[in-house]
């Protein structure tokens, strides 16, 4: 049986704090109206996830969790946000978020989804350790909010950030699961996919903008960066 953890226990409290911070950042993503702020909020969420993975590594002493934390920190906290910034700048995209559903209704929906996640998960996981229960509920909330963002946003970039944030939720679930093997493998496999998605976004946006995939168009846009 997993050790029973509860409020007042440091290892539990820190993990709980980090998981909740990730959920709060999901809401930040949901009400953001400017692209750069959106990307920064995603980076912040990834950093929180890295901290959560590292903390689990400290508590449970698994080397693979530290590797996961490091991968998350470098790739999702730094590299992907930088790539997204570059895409926005070089393709001169609109700096504001186009929404299919207004900010306020999507926030209301978001709260409803979190309530749903808690209602679904907490009774189901009565047998499991406390941390796993709440970790799963919070992670499911982050996943659902990511999905909501994909549905309620119009442009490819914001949909991609919704997907990326959803993946943060998945990793949050995997990291918090006591003794779950292959967490490092999952996170690295997903990173490959994220890298392809970001690159795909780049191609897709070029196509949308110029109706061609000729990268030479970028020279014109980027103000001679490539020359």
């Amino acid at each position: 049986m997993p050790p029973h953890l509860g409020y007042g226990d440091l290892s539990y409290d820190v993990a709980h704090l980090l998981d909740t911070a990730a959920l709060v950042l999901s809401f930040v993503l949901l009400y953001q109206r400017r692209l750069y702020a959106l990307i920064n909020a995603y980076a912040a969420q990834a950093l929180v996830l890295a901290a959560a993975a590292a903390w689990q590594g400290v508590v449970r002493g698994g080397a693979d969790l530290f590797v996961t934390a490091l991968l998350t920190l470098v790739a999702k906290g730094v590299a992907i946000p930088l790539a997204l910034h570059t895409i926005v700048r070089r393709l001169q995209m609109h700096r504001s978020v186009e929404v299919a559903l207004g900010i306020f209704p999507s926030l209301i929906l978001g709260v409803a989804l979190v309530a749903l996640a808690i209602l679904v998960v907490l009774p189901v996981t009565r047998m499991s350790g406390t941390l796993t229960r709440e970790d799963l509920a919070l992670a499911l909330s982050v996943v659902l909010l990511g999905l909501l963002m994909m549905i309620t946003r119009r442009t490819a970039l914001t949909q991609t950030i919704g997907f990326l944030s959803m993946e943060n939720g998945l990793m949050l679930a995997a990291v918090g699961m006591t003794g779950m093997p292959l967490v490092m493998e999952f996170s690295s496999a997903f990173l490959v996919m994220l890298a392809f998605i970001v690159f795909g976004l780049f191609l897709f946006r070029i196509r949308e903008r110029f109706d061609s995939l000729d990268v030479h168009h970028l020279d014109r846009v980027g103000g001679g960066v490539e020359r």
């Binding site: 189901v124 796993t132 799963l136 998945l170 006591t178 292959l182 996919m193 897709f204």
Partner: protein, 486 residues
């Protein structure tokens, strides 16, 4: 290392190593032959496992996994052969060049290897990683022509299947949580073979939660409604051998996973441990896909999109049979899946060549094939008749069995099932008339030779023989699988 170990490693490692080599090989003609050779080795290794009774300890070697692995590797082999001629035409037409073909041949082997790994992996997590790799490989192929439509299709594919893959991972994590108390912490709780027996002693409510996510997640990959919309686009764009023929096998892998989950939940529900009966949700998704696709077939103008929709229809039929459950229905579903894979691969191979011949893939471009290209038209026609589920081909038998099982177990569902099947068959036959007798357009490419059509005939011959007289060893082999998982 034992013989079993060597053969087991070869099934997965040969395609993966071949991918690395083919990515570096500059001469595409040589790479096309290398592709065939690697697929041949993978097929021989996959076939050796059940035939010689080799069971490597690191692979999942139950009947279902081995059966689908042999099927996938066989389609991989014939497609690699077909692909040689196909890419030669594409290069001549200037649609593909040497660097893109390097990517093409490498991803061919990655996709084949990932599919085999997903089927044969013991660990639920490894299956997930392999499915993810297969998705990425398939996306890379769909975008290969770099046309606006291809980029759009691959983007749609990526986002939808990315969400599917993400949901499947969440399901995998929850599944681990559900069975961990009864199987023990760590790797033992992620073994497919242990899951089947642990079903009855697991946390049923958690199993439900895992099932919902896994069904939606892998259901996306099985092109079950409502998450099927990526598929017609993905099949229509990209080079036919991979985007249509080989990626069809992704559906089989996803359906096999759903079938295994069904067994786990059904055992739990039977023991009264809190799980729902998994049959109705799977049947509902299957029937919805069947009906949606059967009626949607009538509105398609693009031949590849048309047959992709027909694949969704047949995937729905197989999922429905698996949901119905019991050895009889699962046997019928498995037979249907097997025969459909062979017949649809044959059809896509013909369609791909016909589209090259006429320089377009709309029905309007492909009319009147019978007048100018009798051999191609007749082969395509036989393939369409096979896919439509008309006798004497084997899909008639499998559909008949599925309808019979329905009448026995859930008579009211026979009506929507029957309507879907009839409407789908009707659409296929109606379109075939146009392909054969419609107004002919001028040829813009070379006609296919005998070598290109040989794999198609091989596929159709197998489908025909299995329809007329199924060999006894094969029948008892498939009955055994159905009894084990049904």
């Amino acid at each position: 290392m034992t013989a079993a170990g060597i053969v087991g490693a070869a099934v997965i490692a040969v395609p993966m190593l071949a991918a690395a080599l083919l990515a570096l090989l500059p001469d595409w003609r040589l790479a096309a032959w290398g592709n065939v050779l690697a697929a041949l080795v993978a097929f021989l290794a996959a076939a050796a496992m059940p035939l010689l009774g080799l069971h490597p300890f690191f692979l999942l070697t139950d009947g279902l996994a081995e059966h689908l692995a042999v099927l996938t590797a066989f389609v991989g082999l014939t497609t690699a052969w077909y692909s040689r001629g196909y890419v030669a035409v594409e290069v001549d037409a200037g649609r593909l060049d040497a660097p893109r073909l390097r990517l093409y041949h490498a991803t061919f082997q990655v996709l084949l290897g990932a599919l085999l790994l997903a089927l044969l992996a013991v660990n639920t997590g490894v299956t997930w990683v392999a499915m993810e790799a297969a998705t990425i490989a398939a996306v890379l192929v769909v975008q290969l022509p770099r046309t606006a439509d291809a980029i759009e299709a691959s983007w749609k594919y990526f986002l939808l299947c990315g969400v599917g893959i993400a949901l499947a991972l969440f399901g995998t994590v929850v599944l681990y949580l559900a069975v961990e108390p009864s199987l023990g912490r760590g790797f033992p709780a992620m073994r497919w073979d242990a899951l089947a027996t642990a079903g009855a002693h697991s946390n049923g409510v958690l199993l439900n939660l895992a099932f919902v996510f896994l069904l939606l997640g892998y259901g996306t990959k099985a092109a079950l409604a409502p998450l099927h919309t990526w598929m017609p686009d993905a099949h229509a764009e990209g080079p036919t051998p991979m985007s249509a023929v080989l990626s069809g096998s992704i559906l089989n892998v996803a359906l096999a996973i759903i079938l295994r989950l069904r067994g786990v939940l059904a055992a739990n529900a039977a023991a009264g441990a809190g799980a729902i009966d998994p049959g109705p949700p799977i049947m509902a998704l299957g029937l919805a896909s069947l009906l949606l696709a059967a009626f949607g077939l009538w509105r398609r103008r693009d031949v590849k999109r048309f047959f992709a929709l027909s694949t969704i229809e047949q995937s729905g039929v197989a999922a429905y049979a698996f949901g119905l459950g019991g050895p009889f229905a699962v046997f019928a579903g498995l037979l249907h899946l097997t025969l459909h894979t062979l017949a649809k691969a044959a059809v896509f191979q013909c369609v791909g060549r016909a589209a090259q011949l006429r320089g377009g893939q709309k029905f309007a471009d492909l009319g009147g094939l019978l007048a100018g290209h009798r051999r191609l038209a007749l082969t395509l026609g036989l393939g369409v008749i096979a896919v439509a589920g008309l006798p004497p081909f084997g899909l008639f038998v499998s559909e008949f069995l599925i309808v019979s099982a329905t009448i026995l177990r859930a008579p009211l569902l026979a009506l929507p099932l029957g309507i879907g099947l009839v409407v789908g068959t009707w659409a296929l036959v109606a379109r075939l008339q146009g392909l054969w007798l419609g107004e002919a357009t001028p040829d813009r490419g070379p006609a296919p030779g005998l070598g290109m059509l040989a794999p198609v005939w091989l596929h159709l011959a197998i489908v025909l023989v299995l329809g007329l007289a199924m060999p006894l060893p094969l029948a008892s082999w498939m009955r055994g699988i159905a009894a084990a998982v049904g």
